[in-house]
């Protein structure tokens, strides 16, 4: 049960079944430290299941998932999860906690002293582009984009080496989404975290990914760099790439207008 600890996350022959239904089959996957792997696929293809197998919200029916060289089932699930930041589409901020308490949750669970938590919250608010006056507000007083920034800050709070993100920007309006994606890309360069990012948006995948994993019906059918992905002959990959191509006439039109 040994694995190279250099690999941040590794799946080998992982299957997951819910009752009779197979949600994932024979998944093999390596994620190197500092890499951003974007899992791309239609709804229900098994992307979220894959993510939940990493922080052990689910355990594989067969096969093994390694995190930092240790099989997830050998990790204490609580310890494991506190080493992995988790951001979900519905954000899940605690409505009865202030923004500061929301962001400082994992540090508080880890028993950090209060002044250190306060300092960390301050730093993180700045990092995700929010004014420090937000600290004492409640989630319902924030806009969707601001809440999602808080969600990212919360996931980064205890400085976890790995970040799992499940369609974090899916519910935002396109303008907010675009700016938050760019900021996040910037952030990712400075932090150098290992990120596994789930989306069904091909454009988002190309903005953020250093590697793309395409999933269909519980299988990983394409795995590679964005350039390799563009060359793939898989029908599903071609279908996704077509979505990008659909915008090409618009690009031409824009160019013409510029001239």
């Amino acid at each position: 049960m040994e694995s190279n600890p250099e690999v941040a996350v590794k799946f080998s022959e992982v299957s997951y079944q819910l009752g009779q239904r197979s949600l994932l089959s024979d998944l093999n996957l390596d994620v190197q430290p500092g890499e951003t792997l974007v899992l791309l696929g239609r709804s229900g293809c098994g992307k979220t299941t894959t993510l939940k197998l990493i922080n052990r919200l689910l355990t594989p029916t067969s096969g093994n998932v390694w995190v930092e060289g240790k099989v997830t089932t050998r990790w204490n699930p609580i310890q494991l999860r506190r080493r992995i930041g988790y951001v979900i589409q519905d954000i899940g901020l605690f409505p009865h906690f202030t923004i500061a308490r929301n962001i400082g949750l994992v540090p508080a669970l880890e028993g950090w002293p209060a002044p250190r938590i306060r300092q960390r919250v301050e730093t993180l608010l700045q990092l995700v582009g929010l004014d420090s006056e937000f600290a004492q507000r409640y989630p319902h007083q924030l806009s969707g984009g601001q809440r999602q920034r808080v969600g990212v800050a919360r996931a980064l709070a205890a400085d976890p080496p790995i970040l799992l993100m499940d369609e974090p920007f899916g519910a935002l309006d396109p303008i907010t989404r675009s700016s938050i994606q760019q900021e996040f890309q910037q952030l990712q360069r400075t932090l150098g975290k290992t990120i596994i990012f789930v989306t069904h948006d091909i454009q988002e995948a190309f903005i953020l990914a250093s590697k793309i994993g395409l999933m269909q019906n519980g299988r990983l059918i394409v795995q590679g760099t964005p350039t390799e992905f563009l060359r793939s002959q898989e029908p599903e990959a071609i279908a996704f790439i077509q979505c990008l191509r659909a915008l090409e006439p618009l690009h031409d039109l824009l160019k013409e207008n510029m001239l």
Binding site: R81, R82, Y86, D90, G92, F94, P95, H96
Partner: protein
């Protein structure tokens, strides 16, 4: 005879009795509510953890509620330990009646917490106890209190019916009044009982509003 005179006469005649029976009444309600909370809260929480048990537990509590109160007092008379006559069976019966609203509201309150909030908490490495005590219970508190409020008001009314099995309380005045066709005596039991029920209802309502998080 004018009104103030008759009121003072009424108080003179029944004052001591009203105070004593009100005390007994509050004791019956207070103790049985305490027991119902001690039993109902953990049971309500338990069935959010073991969803398979939710149907049988709620089912049994539901059946309790459908037994007419007088019949339940009757059933308890021949039972050893819990039954018999006097205060003890009355407290047992009141506790059983109070269970359903407490269990059900604890269950619905916790199940009503946004699943995304729960998932985020678990995903960030909260233990089940941390999730329950820091997130689920605080967010469900308003709903849980609504259940306690209903249970308490019902218990105040039911406690008056426990008089025939010798439990004491304001029911003593009411039943004796009925027996001797004395309306004043009936009112001497009814008015304080109604005031207690209304007072507790308002009190819990205020608490509920204060503690409900409606963000």
């Amino acid at each position: 005879m004018n009104l103030p005179q008759s009121v003072s006469q009424f108080v003179n005649q029944y004052g001591a009795e009203i105070v004593r029976h009100t005390g007994e009444h509050l004791f019956l309600v207070g103790l049985s509510m305490g027991l119902a909370l001690l039993l109902g809260l953990p049971l309500g929480i338990l069935i959010t953890r073991k969803p398979r048990w939710s149907k049988p537990v709620l089912g049994v509590a539901n059946v309790m509620q459908t037994i007419p109160s007088l019949a339940l007092f009757g059933f308890l008379i021949p039972l050893p330990l819990l039954g018999g006559i006097g205060t003890r069976p009355a407290i047992v019966a009141l506790t059983l009646y109070s269970l359903l609203p407490i269990i059900r509201n604890t269950y619905t309150g916790i199940m009503g917490v946004d699943p995304a909030v729960r998932e985020a908490g678990r995903g960030m490495g909260m233990t089940d106890w941390q999730l329950l005590s820091q997130v689920e219970i605080p967010l469900a508190l308003g709903v849980i209190l609504a259940g306690v409020r209903v249970a308490t008001v019902i218990a105040v009314g039911l406690a008056a019916i426990a008089s025939p099995i010798g439990a004491g309380g304001l029911g003593d005045l009411i039943y004796r009044g009925i027996a001797v066709l004395d309306n004043q005596r009936i009112l001497a039991g009814t008015i304080p009982a109604a005031l207690i029920a209304i007072g507790l209802d308002v009190g819990f309502g205020w608490l509920e509003k204060k503690l409900t998080i409606n963000h």
